[in-house]
């Protein structure tokens, strides 16, 4: 029966991300949570964050090669590498919980949550078409700033309502590092 509940909760996540309902996948309501249990917020956080991170990696990889400002290139390369590690970490957690890594590959599937967590793929394509120069650097910094605001918003949902300690720790590091990146990018934009 537990498995059926998990399947139903999984369907909920697929269909509408599940927030309006407390479909607990990891623990019984009557007992306190066991160590290592997780809830639907943990799953939703990870499932939404993986594709968001993949977009961030795509933007950062482009900028690590094309940005004119060496500091922008270094930041982009560090973002690319750290987010790749985080994707592996997040996918590993989902697999350990027998949850699908991708709830829905279409970023628009989550518009019910405000759609703020994914960047429109068309804008990454626009960035790709801008040749190297100040215009590229400015667009990249502005686009990644917006993208990381979305990541902070999603991670704060997890720090507020998530249950799994590992996922919450990751979310806290995401809030801290992205907030600091946003400050750094503001300084780079002001040059």
């Amino acid at each position: 029966m537990r498995r059926l509940a998990a399947v139903l909760a999984g369907l909920l996540l697929l269909a509408g991300c599940g927030t309006p309902f407390t479909a607990t996948t990891g623990g019984a309501e009557s007992a306190p949570p066991l160590p290592g249990t997780f809830n639907d917020t943990d799953v939703m956080f990870l499932q939404m964050m993986v594709p968001s991170h993949e977009q961030g990696v795509e933007m950062a990889r482009l900028a690590a090669q094309r940005a004119t400002d060496a500091d922008v290139r270094d930041l982009a390369a560090a973002v690319e590498l750290t987010q790749q590690d985080e994707i592996a970490d997040m996918a590993g957690r989902l697999r350990a919980w027998n949850q699908p890594v991708a709830a829905d590959p279409n970023p628009r599937a989550h518009t019910g949550h405000g759609g703020m967590h994914a960047t429109d793929p068309a804008f990454i394509e626009t960035l790709r078409r801008i040749p190297a120069g100040p215009e590229f650097d400015r667009n990249f910094l502005n686009l990644l700033t917006g993208h990381q605001h979305g990541a902070v918003e999603l991670a704060r949902m997890e720090t507020g309502r998530g249950e799994d300690t590992g996922a919450r720790d990751l979310a806290e590091r995401i809030v801290a590092s992205r907030t600091a990146q946003i400050k750094q990018m503001a300084r780079l934009l002001a040059r």
């Binding site: 139903l8 703020m116 429109d120 502005n142």
Partner: protein
């Protein structure tokens, strides 16, 4: 709740979910944005120029029903933006100013309006389209001088809401407020020192963090949340 009852609730929830997917996008605006340059009040919160509450994590979220002339739009979560004495940095500008928006997601737009007091000083049509990745508007403020509070409103086409963002300006010379003291540029590391956020590390530099020594693998400026123990892509434990 019995297991049977619980499954019944879950089943009902699954039945409802497809409807929610259709209904929710109309109910919540899927767009967020603010003016990042010159730094608006919420941009200064996000950039750490001034200390703020939750707005520092989500400068893009100042959303409220259309028609307000408040910096918060009347959104009760962000009323600190309405406080003119919060220590906002005043941006020194000429008589024409280019405002740049940062978006986290983009929604069909009715228009962008710029106000000083109750006077609309500029309007830019949105034509029901999504804004581009980087959007800038150049506004003629030659009719104004001295310190002014400019309010920009982004009116969304398919919801009742708008996004609000105020920029403090010192128009046409004069002395603006002191520049922001925060956001120091990165410093260079002492050899073999303790890891510290804000330091620009080069590949090959070594640091200690906790009781472990690490070697930097990729040039970067150290950030909170990028501690060597949790970023194997940036730091190799020795």
């Amino acid at each position: 709740m019995s297991l049977k009852r619980r499954l019944a609730v879950l089943g009902a929830a699954v039945g409802l979910a497809p409807l929610l997917v259709v209904v929710l996008p109309a109910a919540t605006a899927g767009a967020h944005g603010y003016i990042s340059s010159p730094p608006s009040r919420q941009a200064q919160c996000a950039q750490g120029t001034v200390s703020c509450g939750d707005i520092k994590y989500e400068p893009q979220s100042v959303e409220a029903p259309k028609g307000s002339r408040l910096c918060s739009g009347g959104n009760p979560r962000f009323t600190e933006l309405d406080d003119n004495n919060h220590g906002w940095h005043v941006n020194a500008v000429g008589s024409t100013v280019t405002f740049t928006w940062t978006f986290t997601a983009r929604h069909a737009t009715t228009n962008y309006e710029y106000y000083i007091g109750n006077t609309r000083v500029a309007e830019f049509a949105g034509n029901g389209q999504q804004p581009p990745p980087t959007l800038s508007h150049t506004v003629d403020l030659s009719g104004y001088s001295g310190q002014q509070k400019l309010l920009a409103v982004w009116n969304i086409a398919d919801t009742a809401n708008a996004f609000y963002t105020c920029v403090d300006l010192q128009i046409g010379g004069g002395s603006p407020s002191e520049p922001p003291p925060n956001n120091p540029p990165p410093t260079n590391p002492p050899a073999g020192g303790t890891w510290a956020a804000g330091t620009a590390y080069q590949a090959g530099n070594t640091v200690t963090y906790g009781s472990t020594t690490y070697r930097c693998l990729q040039n970067h400026t150290a950030l909170p949340g990028w501690e060597p123990s949790s970023t194997p892509a940036l730091w190799q434990a020795l």
